[in-house]
């Protein structure tokens, strides 16, 4: 079956819409994931394929080309592999970090990458459906314009649905005062660790930074009490500021506040607060709060 030039333009336009949607979510920020440029290119290309799958599916269905549709659905299977590939890659690299990401954080990152490919599929599918549905009613220009608005609406809606939160949504972060009582190190009044060596005590007092993470409510306390979430925070701090020697955190049973001590290579308290504030809130902790009637992420 030959493809009409008009249909080819429709498919290309829908593919472009899905691709742009995926591209807009592919940020190279301070977390440096995906890595740049190779990791970035890999995800961009997978996003392009996902968009093409979404764009071709409706014309194939209209042409009653069921074999093509079957193959397109087989392509969906590969997007599930994206999660596995991303997870296994991050798990493998985790051994190279001084302080590992941990399984919970890796799972969250891998799921995000998978879901964003589905976003590209839905946006391109919406675009092509809008073009074809309005084709017989509106003029060509009007039809394309309507499809563009539909694509933007689909992007905004799905992005709002899958958008993750960060630590600053559930906790206030501030610098705490490091002190020693006998051989125990405290951040304000929170016991953090026992330090046996005098040289280490001196190093912590000279170069360490104490941080206080204060949950905003009861459910937020549960969220921050998750080992995976705390590991994610400690990982980002140690990876971005560098770890000279030591990082440890402990929760205060009375208040639920978390005290953390780190001896970073770059001693920048403001950067440290910024890093902690922007650590993603893991999906597993959000689920915990919702199942107990929490109002987090509810609007």
């Amino acid at each position: 079956m030959s493809l009409e030039p008009e249909m080819l333009v429709n498919i290309l336009f829908a593919t472009l819409a899905g691709f742009l949607s995926r591209w807009s979510l592919l940020k190279v920020d301070f977390r440096q994931n995906p890595t740049y440029p190779n990791g970035y290119l890999i995800h961009l290309m997978i996003g392009l394929i996902a968009s093409a799958v979404g764009a071709i599916s409706v014309p194939a269905l209209l042409a009653k080309d069921y074999v093509a549709i079957t193959f397109l659905f087989l392509a969906f299977e590969h997007f599930r592999d994206v999660r596995k590939i991303e997870a296994s890659s991050l798990e493998y690299l985790d051994k190279a970090h001084y302080y590992p990401r941990g399984a919970a954080y890796i799972d969250g990152i891998a799921k995000t990458f998978e879901s964003r490919n589905y976003l590209a599929i839905v946006v391109s599918l919406t675009t092509i459906t809008a073009i074809l549905a309005t084709g017989g009613v509106f003029s060509r220009t009007m039809s394309i314009t309507t499809a563009a608005f539909a694509a933007i609406a689909a992007h905004i809606l799905i992005n709002r649905f899958i958008k993750g939160q960060v630590i600053k949504a559930v906790a206030d972060i501030e610098i705490g005062e490091i002190s020693f009582r006998n051989h125990n190190v405290y951040v304000n009044d929170i016991y953090v660790a026992n330090i046996g060596l005098e040289v280490m005590k001196k190093r912590i007092l000279e170069r360490g930074i104490g941080v206080l993470i204060k949950p905003k409510g009861e459910n937020e306390k549960i969220m921050l009490n998750n080992i995976g979430q705390r590991q994610a925070i400690e990982h980002e701090c140690s990876r971005l500021l560098g770890l000279e020697k030591y990082i440890e955190s402990r929760r205060d049973f009375e208040t639920g506040n978390i005290g953390m001590v780190i001896i970073p290579i770059r001693k920048e308290p403001k950067s440290l607060i910024h890093i902690i504030e922007n650590v993603p809130l893991l999906e597993i902790v959000k689920k915990q709060a919702r199942s107990t009637g929490g109002n987090i992420n509810e609007k």
Binding site: N182, H183, N194, I195, G196, L197, E198, V199, M200
Partner: protein, 61 residues
Amino acid sequence: MRNNHILIAVGLNRDLAENVPLILAENEEQLQTISSELGRILEGNVCRLANGLVIITAPGR
């Protein structure tokens, strides 16, 4: 959960540790040096108790 095991103790007084390998130091300076060396060799955490006894701990395997 992380469970730490006591690998060895370092102290100034023989009576402070039982059923744990103990290295006796002659004075505070030597105690600090030995503890630091042991911490590095055994890749463990160096902790000090209120009675002055130093213990080297490591995650249980």
